[in-house]
């Protein structure tokens, strides 16, 4: 397993930030998740990873001892303990790419200079690794969007992006688990619920999983989606 150069800084009184001196990559993702698993053993903290950072945040400020925890973090980051088992989870996400439910699809298609069929082919081809969850509960940050689909975010964000919207913003693609304001171009919708608080593990997709989009018809979408929405 690789080792990485990193810097540890404090983020206020009750959190520690580990910044890895390396760009996002599949190897770094594996390393971050392996270290996250080890760091979670520390008591009274929760651990968040992003592309190249790890946040260790106190969940009980009364018992937060910065020096003590920093020493243990160094020890964990420098240990050469083997990686956790490889994650083989691939979520197949059904998406309906149809202008009737994807408000930005036609405008997006003319801006990137592609027809809808080509957009679907390019968007459904890759298996996207999930680097982390952020922005909204259950929102996956994916890697691997085809560069022909890149398009800068909207100048003015939409106030209401519907739950289940599959969208593209800049070099990234993602799925909105809840209705939210957002500046990405909505090119499709999934009938799946990505975040369900009634489940012990509310997020369907987790960091380290992979996802692949599959195209479904409007009829299939209507059949699969909740009638009350």
């Amino acid at each position: 397993m690789n080792t990485y150069q990193y810097a540890i800084t404090r983020l206020g009184e009750f959190a520690i930030l580990i910044q890895v001196d390396s760009k996002a990559s599949h190897e770094l993702l594996e390393w971050l998740l392996a270290k996250k698993a080890q760091l979670q053993v520390l008591t009274n903290v929760e651990v968040v990873t992003t592309y190249n950072e790890i946040l260790v945040k106190s969940i009980n400020p009364v018992h937060f001892n910065y020096e003590g925890i920093e020493t243990r973090i160094h020890k964990i980051l420098n240990s050469s303990k083997e990686s956790i088992e490889a994650n083989e989870i691939i979520h197949k996400i059904p998406v309906c790419y149809h202008p009737e439910i994807a408000p930005d699809l036609e405008d997006y298609a003319s801006k990137v200079g592609l027809d809808i069929k080509s957009i679907i082919n390019l968007h459904t081809a890759p298996v996207y690794p999930v680097h982390f969850i952020g922005f909204l509960p259950g929102f996956p940050y994916l890697e691997g969007l085809n560069s022909r689909l890149f398009l800068n975010r909207k100048e003015t964000p939409s106030q209401h992006v519907a739950s289940g919207s599959v969208a593209i913003g800049g070099t990234q693609t993602g799925i909105y688990p809840q209705q939210s304001p957002g500046g990405w171009h909505v090119i499709g919708k999934t009938p799946l619920h990505l975040f369900d608080i009634s489940k012990t593990s509310p997020a369907l997709i987790k960091a380290g999983d992979k996802i692949q989009f599959t195209s479904i018809t409007l009829e299939a979408y209507n059949l699969l989606s909740d009638k009350d929405e």
């Binding site: 930030l17 996250k36 969940i59 960091a207």
Partner: protein, 285 residues
Amino acid sequence: MSKSIQILDKGFFTTVQDGGRYGYAAIGVPESGAMDRLAYTQANRLLNNHPNAAILECTLVGPKIRFNHPTYVVITGAHMDVTLDGTPVKIGVPTLAKASQILYTSKISRGTRCYIAFGGGLETATVLNSKSWYTPITPDNQIRNGATLSLGISTYGDRKGAHIKYKSAYLSAGRVHTIQAFRGPEYRLLTHSEQQLLAVPFTISKLWNRMAVQLQEPFDNKLKSIATSPVIPGTVQLTPSGKIIILMRDCQTTGGYPRILQIAQSSINILAQMQQGDGILLSVT
């Protein structure tokens, strides 16, 4: 049967909050919890409640509440006039309300958020380890008129609450509110003169809520957006267009703007009591 209260009028914006939602940041769930943790903690201590008991957080205009059973109540945080069937209730002093008495509150006169705690705490639904309201994690984003809220079992009558003299951090401060801040991860990317410019007074803009407080004055800078990275309440973001955004308790778990500062916990509590037009002076250490 458990004790309860009824919300006759919700006021301007009233929610249920506790000490925050922890353990779900890695799946994008905000921390939430009472904005002014000092006022929140003191309210529970005064009533001998569990330190994480749920209470009401009221913004700008307080609610009107009917007590269905004899209940101890205490008010902390921002200043407003409170009466119990016309009899004045002192801020920071536990008061016994009789069954069917009504608590009336005025507009908040100093500060922004006030806290109303009840003996035994509010027994509203726990979602992902917390009773703090944050949609879509919890169904409602504010209390509804007519809602009945259950209370836990109070130990205040048996054993007195903590002997603390209640004092609000915000109300005790002078006219200039100094906000203590530490250097954030991207602070070093600012030029020396930009760092100096952070020392001038700033004003709270019209954008202030439980997610963030945006400052009025533009701050010219050459920093680029960063790869999306972790943020927490108190993180100060600087946008390429020059907006300074101070993240508050309901903020997202990640963000793509440079994190120039991190506000001290005690100063987050002070910011929780501020609103549009209030001035701050950032003290960076």
